[in-house]
Each structure stands twice: as C-alpha cells, then as structure tokens.
Amino acid sequence: MGKNDHAAIRAILCGDKEAYGELVMRHSRSLFRAAFRITGNEADAEDVVQEAFLRGYRRLESFESRSEFGTWIYRIAVRCALDRINGRKTGESSRVAEEADPERDEVQVADRTAGPDRILLSGEIAAMREAAMQSLTPTERAAFVLRHMEGHSSEEIAAALGIAPNAAKQAVFRAVQKLRLRLAPLKVRT
C-alpha cells in the first residue's frame, strides 16, 4: 500500500494529477471516520476530508518519502478537523448542557426522536454523551478521540495535533475527567 502511495506521489509530482485520485480513493474513508469523530458532524467531516486532501496535494512536494502517506494525510485531516471545531467554538454563543443555564450560556439539546410525553432513554443518553463531548476543548476532544476511539499513542496524537507528547497525554487526562464528571448522572439513571 505504502509502496503504491509513493509511486502515485512520484507520478503526481511528475505532472500526473490523476494519480492523486488513487490516494484520495484509498484514504478518504479513514479520514472521514476520524474527521467525523472529532467534529461530530457529517457535513463538517466531509468538508474536513476535502480540505485535508487539498492541503495535502498542495504540500505534496514537502512530503518525505520515508513517511507513510496515510499517516501524513491523516495528521493533516486531524489538524483540519481541529481548525474546524476551533472555528466553530469561537463562532458559537451557546454550549450544549444537561440543564439549561443562562448564566453559563448553556442550552439543552432536544431529542427530536422522542415524543413530548416520553423521552427515550437511549436518545437521552446519546444527547448527554454528545453534550459531554461538546464540553471538551477542541484539543481535548481531538486528543480523546484519537486515543479512545482511534487507538493512537500519545506520541502519535502529539504529532497529529502539533503539540508535545506530554501535552497530548494531559489533554487526554483532562478529557476523561470532564467526560466522567459530565456523564456521572447517567450512571445513576442506568
């Protein structure tokens, strides 16, 4: 796979633009998965995938042949996703919370699948999980997703996020602490 990637990159740099199509088709699904987990949004994840491949193409000359293209483009996608949620955070005026708290500018997420008289438990749990994830900073969220869901090491997370390994580890710790705190009520209900 890596060998094919390198051959495709050489072809691209020699003027064969179509060869990039092979790389896009080969890696777009893994990028989408990571992007979706970090952004939590399908449309954002698709945008992130596009942007990552676009950035990757433009920086292809700086790609070092000893690296794996998959890892390289994955890191670019993580950065793009991080940029996306960073931008979204600054643009948002409200955060999702379990309980509405006007002083903290928090809102409740309405579960549209439930009827007005009966809230389905699964829907509530999903909403709370999402609210808990939303409470994390972009770096904490990305670090947690990469650690907990994508199974990357602290060093890999650090490389993907452009931070020190210890900072990556601390970001994961803080994310876990916040999530446990946020999801504590769930344990009581279940």
Partner: protein
C-alpha cells in the same frame, strides 16, 4: 500503601497491561474498584458510529476535488532547469574558449616578439641609426649654412667649420655604409655627394683663401647639397613613421 491516582488509572487504561500500576491493581482492592469504575465510564463513552461511506465515497471526493488541483509542473521545471544549466554551460564554455584564445594569443604574440627580438634586432638598431642620421643631417645642414655665409677673411670662422667637417666626416661614412646596407640608394647617393665636400673642408688649414672658399661654396651650390640635406632631413619623420607601422609584433 500509596494508591493510584486518576491519571495513573487512565494511563493504565490506555497503556500496556503490565508494569507497576498493574501489579498494584492486583493487590489493592480500592484501586481495582476505582479502575473498574473508570473502565465502565469509558466503555460508555462511545461516540456515535460514523455514518457509513461506501466504496464510491472516495470517487465522489476525488470528483469534487480534481477541478481544484493544479497539475504539478515538476518536469517542466526540470526541463527549464536543465535548459538553464545547458545555457549556463554553453556560456561558460564560450567564456573559457574566449579566455583560452586570449591567453594563447598573448603567449603566441609574446613568443613571436621574443623570437623577433632575438633573431632580428634590426628595428631597434634602425631606430638608433635614424636618430644618428637625423643628428648627422642636422649638423650637416648647419655646417653647409655656415659655409654658405662664410667669409674667407675671417680665420676664426674657418677653424670651427673645419673641425665640424672632420667630425661629420666619420659620421657621414657610417651613415652612408648603413644606407647602402639597407638598400637606400637615394640616401647613399646624397651622402656620397656630401663626402668630398666634407673631406675637402676637413683638410683645410687655418688660412683658407677666398678662392678655396668660393670653390667650396660653388661645389656645394652646384651639387645642391644644402637643398638635398634639407630634403633628407624633412623625410626623417616619414622614415620614423614607416618604422612604427612596420609589423614588428605589437602587443594587444
């Protein structure tokens, strides 16, 4: 016993199964309970599974991306670079060729000059002869002018003429021989005609009578010696110019 803190438990959860934390968990019920709670909490934190993307997803991404991408022009740049190097190499080769030709020309010229100087010292010698000839003709002209205006009664005037004629006689002989050797018949003939007058004048005693003076003046006038000497003098610059333009290995 020091219990594991939350960070250590989290590290244990994401880390490897062995190590001091694992050994501690085996022997510490409190930490094991805390670790179990952490495991339950984190097991519950599962994000929504990403929406499935079929095999055509990559194709769709590529189709939307392709129009935004510019073709890399690395080969073109490579050709341009190669062309640049080719041009520079050509220019360098030309410069080397010109420099080589210049140096070779100088070497050849200097060698030729040296050879000419060694094998044919004539130009330098001829320049010296011209200077001597010019001086000789100049003195001769003055002598002839004085002879033309000389007064036979004045003994003090005859003596310098005689001394000058004696001095000029030797120089005239040298110049005449040189002119004959260089194949200059006009100069040779003129100096030949001058010679008897100089001989006669040089042989005079202190008391030159008027008849002798008149005869010498007549001889001078008859041969047109003064005029001829003046003509020869006037041609000295031409001779010098001819010497300068002669191809004798000038340098660049």
């Amino acid at each position: 016993m020091k219990h594991l803190n939350e960070e250590e438990l989290i590290e244990r959860y994401y880390g490897k199964g062995d190590g001091p934390a694992s050994r501690h968990l085996e022997g510490c019920a409190a930490c094991a309970e805390a670790y179990d709670a952490l495991q339950r909490d984190l097991a519950g934190v599962e994000c929504t599974e990403p929406p499935a993307r079929d095999d055509s997803y990559g194709e769709r991404v590529w189709q939307s991306l392709a129009p935004l991408l510019l073709v890399y022009e690395a080969p073109m740049r490579g050709r341009r670079r190669a062309g640049l190097w080719k041009g520079l190499s050509y220019a360098a080769a030309c410069a080397l060729l010109i420099a080589g030709a210049f140096i070779a020309g100088r070497q050849w010229e200097h060698g030729r000059q040296r050879g000419m100087a060694e094998n044919n010292p004539a130009p330098t010698r001829q320049r010296v002869v011209l200077v001597v000839l010019s001086d000789h003709l100049d003195r001769t002209e003055r002598l002839l002018v004085e002879l033309k205006h000389a007064d036979a009664g004045s003994a003090e005037m005859v003596s310098p003429l005689r001394d000058e004629a004696r001095s000029l006689l030797a120089a005239n002989d040298v110049c005449r021989q040189d002119a004959a050797r260089n194949g200059d018949p006009e100069l040779t003939a003129a100096l030949d005609r001058l010679n008897p007058l100089l001989v006669e004048l040089a042989g005079q005693t202190d008391g030159m009578n008027s008849a002798t003076l008149a005869r010498l003046q007549d001889q001078m006038n008859a041969d047109g010696l003064l005029f001829e000497v003046r003509v020869l003098r006037s041609r000295i610059p031409d001779r010098q110019a001819a010497m300068a333009t002669r191809p004798n290995g000038g340098t660049i």
